[in-house]
Symmetry: none
Subunit: 225 residues, 2 copies
Amino acid sequence: MSDGESRSDSAYRQLRGYIDGVATGERLPSETDFVQMFGMSRASIREGLTRLRTEGVVRSRKGSGSYAVRDQAPQMVRLSAISSTRDLAEWHEVRLALESEVAALAADRRTEDDLARLVRAQETLMVRLIVDRAEREDVAFHAALAVCAHNSKLSDALGRLTSHIFSWGNLSAQRSVLTAAERRELIALEHGAIVDAVAARDSDRARAELRRHLLNGRTRVLSNL
Amino acid sequence: MSDGESRSDSAYRQLRGYIDGVATGERLPSETDFVQMFGMSRASIREGLTRLRTEGVVRSRKGSGSYAVRDQAPQMVRLSAISSTRDLAEWHEVRLALESEVAALAADRRTEDDLARLVRAQETLMVRLIVDRAEREDVAFHAALAVCAHNSKLSDALGRLTSHIFSWGNLSAQRSVLTAAERRELIALEHGAIVDAVAARDSDRARAELRRHLLNGRTRVLSNL
DNA sequence: TGCACAAAGCTGTCCTACAGAATTAATGTA
DNA sequence: TACATTAATTCTGTAGGACAGCTTTGTGCA
C-alpha cells in the first residue's frame, strides 16, 4: 500500500501531517530540521514543501522561514493530481465510498424509466465490449446508475472523481491482465448483479455488489503496477 | 522581465509556456536540456516541474522522462451553496457516504495512538457538552475519526464537506428539539458505540453505528424545518 | 534606554555525484 | 535475415555540500 511511495511523497505526507497540528500562521521548523526529523535529504523536503506551497497550504519567505497558511475558503474539494499508486488507491477509496452509497440509493429510488435506462446502458456496453474495451460505455453505465440515485450533488461529485481517476488510467500503460473475453464475462456478471439488485429494490445487495465490482477492479488495476 | 520573479518562478512560467505548445502526452525535453535552454540550475528547473506536477499538468516517470498531461479536466468539486432543504439533504447523503466509509476504514486501520486520540476527543466533547452545544468539539471528534482512516484524500474531502454543512447550520435558527441533557445522552451513546466498534476493529459495526448516528442527526435537523 | 552593528539562521540557488528505472543500441544465435 | 538477450546509454530521483542574500536575534556602546 505505502510501498509505491517516493521520498518526496513521504515528505509531503509527513509535512502535511505536521502542519495539521500547528496553528494558523505559525512558523514551521527549518528545512534542515525536517531533514533530521524525517531522515531524508533537503531536496526531498523541499519538493514536499513546493507541493504544499503550490496548494497554498504553506508560504515561505527567504531568510525567514516557512509558515502554515490555514485554508481560507473551503468551497472546493480539490482533486489533486495522482502522482503515486498511493494517491490512486486513496481516490479509489473515495470513489468506493460515493458509489456504494449511490448504488444503495439507486435501489431505493429508481423509477421504471431509470431502470430501463440502466439496462439499456448495460446492453450497449456489452455490445461494444465485443469490439474494444468500451471505456466510454463503461463510464456511461456508472453514470446511468448515478442518475437512479436522484441526488445531483452525489452524482456530480462521483462523475468528476471517476473521470479524474480515469484520466490517470489513460496515461499509464493500461495493459489489462485479463483477456477481452474474460473481461467481458466479468463485467456481464458484476454489472448484471448490480442491475438485478437495483431492479429488486434491494439496497443492501446493490451496495454489496457494487463494492465487490469496484474492489475487484481496483485489485486488477493495482496489481498491474 | 519582472523583478520580483525568482528563478523557479521563471522556470515555472517558461515551462508552462513550453507545454502550451506541445501535444497531449508528448514527452518533454530532459531536465538537463531545460537547464541549457533556460540558463538556470537543475534545482530550479525541478522546482518548476514539481509545481506543474502538483497542478497535474505534467507527469514524470523515473528513467523515462516528463510528459505533458493536458486534458485539464475538472480538478475541482464545487461545494455549491445550500439554498434549500433539498440541497441540505443531498449534501447530508454525500457526507453519509464518505463518513460511513471513513468509519469502516478507521476500524480496519486505526493505530493505538489513533484510538487514544479518538477517545480523548470524545471525552473532551462530553465535558464541553455540560457547558454548551460544543459544536467545535463535535467536529473535532469526527476529524479524529477521519484521521484513523489513514486516507488524506477522504478525510480532506469529508472535512471540507462537514464544515460546509455546518456553516449552513450556523446561519439558520438552530433550535434543537432536544434538551441539552437529552442531546448529551444521545451523543454519549452514539459516539460511544462508534468508538467501541473502532476499538474492536469491527468495520461493519463501525459503518453501521456511524450511519445510525448521522441518520438520527439528519432526522432531527430536517424535522426542524 | 536606544541605536548601530555584528552574528547566526533561513531560504533560494548552484554544483557534483550516484542509484535505479527505462530506453536504446549492440550482439550473438538460429 | 529475424529475433531474443545483453550491454550501454539516458533520464529522473535523491543525497550532500556550498554559498548568496535576506531576516531575525543578539551584543556592545553611547
